[in-house]
Symmetry: C2
Subunit: 340 residues, 2 copies
């Protein structure tokens, strides 16, 4: 089943059911919003599935052309947004770029931060920032949306609570991160509003690509129309979603509608070291910080700038037939003028 | 105006209007839930005010006895829970207790973390934990609930967005904090579900006690029926709510329904050093970590244990006539058995 949310002026939007090929959509009859569907998933999901079947089979005359640009993030706001850093390779490279080491425990104890879930950007919304001095970067990730998770759930139980899967752009302000990390209280100003793919899908839509709590497909990240990254989300994921959910629920339950991100997808190079740019035959990068790190290793300093006003990033994932699964995140950076 | 949320089986509960003396309540007609009231505050609040007047004047026959124990937290779940550490004295003492120094910037740049907002405990709900080895502690605080805040709002504009004020018990697991602080990603497992006072009030209800973005009244913290703390929330608050909101909104807007906490209320002693226990003529402590710190200074080691199974904490605040403003947080610690 594929779901999306239509911008309709309400804060939580209108739940849409989207055809498997992303061409058509209908307003869901079984629940008005994504959150209300998740709040009552066991009763609502079977009815949504019926609507989804009718849509795919052409058995509805309420269908209209699906427009990704008319969507908000699947949850325009959520009760929780947790983001891990499960590709420890990414952490290692980013820290190296700052001249810092990672502790050995980072390979056994997941890194995860609590993100702001109140104001997600739409998939095609501009990223507005006062200044590019803050080091605007994308982070391309996979994420799951959960049903209720009991406190203390072990990994198998935890994984059974995954209801939907989508992509994320965890927008990051690299220049503000070191000071916030040093304070120890986590990211606040350095992680502005994230955006998510227009479409969230049930795990069965991924077929065998959803396995062992990982999405085993490449994530396509393009910067200004040129390929930046094709890292495989199923490779080098040190902690799978079973482990991540269980980690998050250790000391408290998680409410239905919780979004949990994988962290920036990052594959090691063939020699086990940092990957290469796509233009040089590598898999590239899911964020600019990694590219800058590799440049630092090779030349002593980074040459690729962070995102500038006018720069555009797209993030998408394709099935083995080359068809888009989630639609595209498509965002351009724009200058913001704060209120006086 | 005083508002609360009645547990009614729905995830967001039923919005109540509570009489000024906390004796009577009515189901709000103008909005079904607290979040929906906040989503449309400008149009809904005047109608809630009318209902509140009628209740206080006895002009309604729908009123029933107000029962704090039947309430969820004013927002049973929220789009955002941000918690500052605005009483830098608290941070200094807690860090001293761990043998760590605080950087000078902590006095000028607010500490704030993103907390989990998906599963708040009810004001009278037990605090269930697998083990007391995690060092279960209370943190008594004030908090504000905000309307929408524009990204980049300066302090005066930010403060104008405060819609409601309440109390918090920011339950903390002291034993898990040092490792999470060291990871830099903020608190996750070490900050389980928080709880809030049964009643949230508009700033005008505090009269002159709401001044300069601070609540200028003592917070009453009792442990097992004995006074633990009477620190004044208006004293030694290094950063007021204007500063805190503006800090939170620097790189992104905040959605209506955002909760922002002050951090543990902590007053310095008369000599500028750590305070004394109430039993020795001091103002006591809003968390056990501080008491243990003072013991460490005086005797070389802490003697007060963290909360044990069966221990009870209450948190309340009274006006100058001795009347409870927000009702009481009243929580007992209980053993939790996780799913197999």
């Amino acid at each position: 089943m594929k779901l999306a949310t239509l911008r309709n002026g309400d804060r939580d939007g209108q739940l849409l059911i989207v055809s498997r090929d992303l061409k058509k959509a209908i307003q869901a009859k079984s629940a008005p919003t994504m959150q209300l569907a998740l709040d009552n998933w066991n009763t609502v999901a079977p009815r949504l599935e019926e609507e989804y079947k009718d849509l795919n089979n052409g058995n509805t005359n309420a269908a209209f052309d699906f427009d990704e640009a008319a969507c908000t993030s699947p949850l325009p706001r959520a009760v929780q947004w947790l983001d891990a850093s499960a590709y420890v390779n990414h952490v290692q490279l980013v820290r190296q770029a700052r001249g810092a080491e990672i502790p050995e425990t980072f390979w056994t104890d997941p890194l995860m931060y609590q993100g702001g879930s109140d104001t997600f950007l739409a998939p095609h919304e501009t990223i507005k920032m006062e200044t590019t001095d803050w080091g605007i970067d994308m982070e391309a990730e996979t994420a799951v949306i959960l049903d209720d998770v009991e406190m203390g759930s072990k990994e198998t139980l935890a994984l059974s609570r995954v209801r939907l899967i989508m992509l994320v752009n965890d927008v990051s302000l690299r220049g503000l991160i070191p000071a916030e990390l040093a304070k120890g209280f986590g990211f606040l100003q350095s992680k502005p509003s994230s955006s998510f793919s227009p479409v969230a899908v049930t795990p069965d839509e991924l077929g065998s690509a959803w396995e062992d709590g990982k999405v085993k497909l490449p994530i396509h990240v393009d910067l200004n129309g040129k390929p930046l990254g094709r890292a495989n989300a199923g490779v080098d994921m040190t902690f799978n979603f079973a482990k991540l959910i269980s980690h998050a629920a250790k000391t408290r339950p998680l409410c239905a509608g919780t979004i949990l991100g994988s962290g920036t997808i990052s594959n090691k190079g063939k020699d086990g070291g940092p990957g290469k740019p796509i233009q040089e035959g590598g898999l590239g990068y899911s964020c600019l910080a990694e590219e800058r790190m590799v440049e630092t290793i090779l030349t002593g300093k980074p040459t690729t700038p962070f995102m500038q006003f006018g720069d555009n990033v797209t993030i998408a994932m394709y099935d083995n037939d080359g068809k888009s699964i989630f639609g595209s995140i498509n965002q351009t950076v724009e200058k913001y003028n704060p209120p006086a």
